[in-house]
């Protein structure tokens, strides 16, 4: 069995080191997201880690939890959320964390996303948004900027894109945040909050894909330039409220958009219903 010469202690403690180095490209943002999640668990404590289950869709982001030394289910494209719903209903005591890509969650999985939000089921979704379909080689996604050139929009993308936060707000999600991989500490704190949060939480992470988005869309194939771009073009939510539409063009609005606790969490609601029926039976 091959042994690594060295790995960060978080990797040794929480990851399947026999599978490292992971398959992500050099400079890929997913590695940073993995670290943010593991740091969040390091701070939340062993008890939270012990009762966490990971589910993921298909795509680059789908491989994220397969490297964690914890139960991980690498499910079908777009169908991670219904599977996670089954797990949460059967074992409401578990933390269910779902990793999905932008195409996985908003294209093929769009229906399941809005229904999971509608039900407000206690799942933490981390949507890795690199604005493209990266694993298949750089095709159009519902989040690709207008007029971009990708492999399936060789004459320019003419589809406007989704704002995931607005979509989730309308569908009923109860904790919403958007960060980029540059905002490491804020991302880690949001992950902690989302795991503790009872209802359906969505953290959208704008993550760098230097290989495709970097080369095709932003013309920044170096991950360092890409991260600088994310830093320079991020605007905090509170500040963005004061700015007008013209100023906000091309900017990434980050922050915690929503944190409400007035909607009941679905599995809790269901189990309280059963207890009544069991007594009646």
């Amino acid at each position: 069995m091959r042994r690594l010469d060295f790995a960060h202690y978080l990797a040794k403690k929480y990851m399947r080191t026999e599978m490292l180095p992971h398959a992500f490209c050099p400079g890929c943002g997913i590695g940073i997201i993995q670290r943010a999640v593991l740091m969040a668990f390091e701070e939340l404590g062993e008890e939270e880690w012990n009762r966490t289950v990971f589910v993921s869709g298909i795509g680059c982001s789908g491989w994220t939890p397969t490297y964690f030394r914890r139960d991980a289910i690498h499910a079908l494209h777009g169908r991670a959320l219904p599977l996670a719903t089954g797990i949460k209903l059967a074992r409401p005591d578990l933390n269910v964390v779902v990793f999905m890509g932008d195409g996985d969650s908003m294209a093929i999985g769009g229906n399941h996303l809005i229904h999971a939000a509608r039900r407000n089921i206690g799942i933490t979704s981390i949507v890795v948004n690199n604005m493209i379909y990266s694993l298949t080689g750089g095709q159009l996604a519902p989040t690709t900027p207008m007029y971009s050139y990708t492999n399936t929009s060789p004459y320019g993308n003419i589809e406007p894109n989704f704002d995931l936060i607005e979509l989730m707000k309308a569908s009923g999600a109860t904790y919403l945040a958007r960060w980029t991989t540059w905002h490491f500490i804020q991302l880690k704190n949001s992950v902690k909050k989302a795991i503790k949060h009872k209802g359906f939480s969505v953290i959208e992470v704008i993550s760098q894909c230097p290989t495709y988005t970097g080369r095709y869309i932003l013309r920044k194939p170096d991950p360092r330039d890409y991260m600088q771009w994310m830093k320079d073009n991020s605007v905090l939510f509170d500040v963005a409220k004061e700015m007008d539409k013209k100023e906000l063009e091309g900017k990434i609005v980050v922050g915690e958009f929503l944190d409400r606790d007035d909607r009941p969490e679905f599995s809790e609601l269901y189990w309280s219903l059963i207890k009544k029926k069991e007594v009646e039976a």
Binding site: M1, L4, D5, F6, A7, H8, Y9, L10, A11, K12, K13, M15, R16, T17, E18, L20, P21, H22, F24, C25, P26, G27, C28, G29, I30, G31, I32, Q34, R35, R69, F184, I185, P210, P223, R224, M227
Partner: protein, 100 residues
């Protein structure tokens, strides 16, 4: 906080240089030697400048760099115990493969 050393993994580093870019004190620099992947793994240029801000760690996607202080030695030791425990399963699976 005394920084004992900065460990960088030759096996894990993919040469994205986000750590070099992140460091505000120019502690790390691009190395001269290439690893098995063909990338110039970063080297520690000025250890004395390191304040353990850990920005390099936060930017590294590959878990390939760690600032080692006294606390980190302890954390690494604990983590290695856990890693060792789970090696058993990988070894068992590989035994099964060989015996097929």
């Amino acid at each position: 906080m005394k920084v004992i050393e900065i460990r960088i993994s030759q096996d894990l580093c993919k040469g994205c240089f986000l750590c070099v870019w992140a460091c505000p004190y120019k502690v790390i620099d691009v190395g001269k030697e290439r690893n098995y992947r063909g990338v110039n793994v970063p080297i520690v240029a000025k250890l004395e400048e390191c304040r353990a801000c850990r920005l390099c760690e936060y930017r590294c996607p590959d878990f390939a760099i760690q600032i080692i202080t006294d606390k980190d030695v302890e954390l690494l030791r604990e983590a290695e115990q856990i890693e060792l425990r789970w090696q058993r399963r990988v070894e068992l699976a590989e035994e099964m493969e060989v015996s097929e």
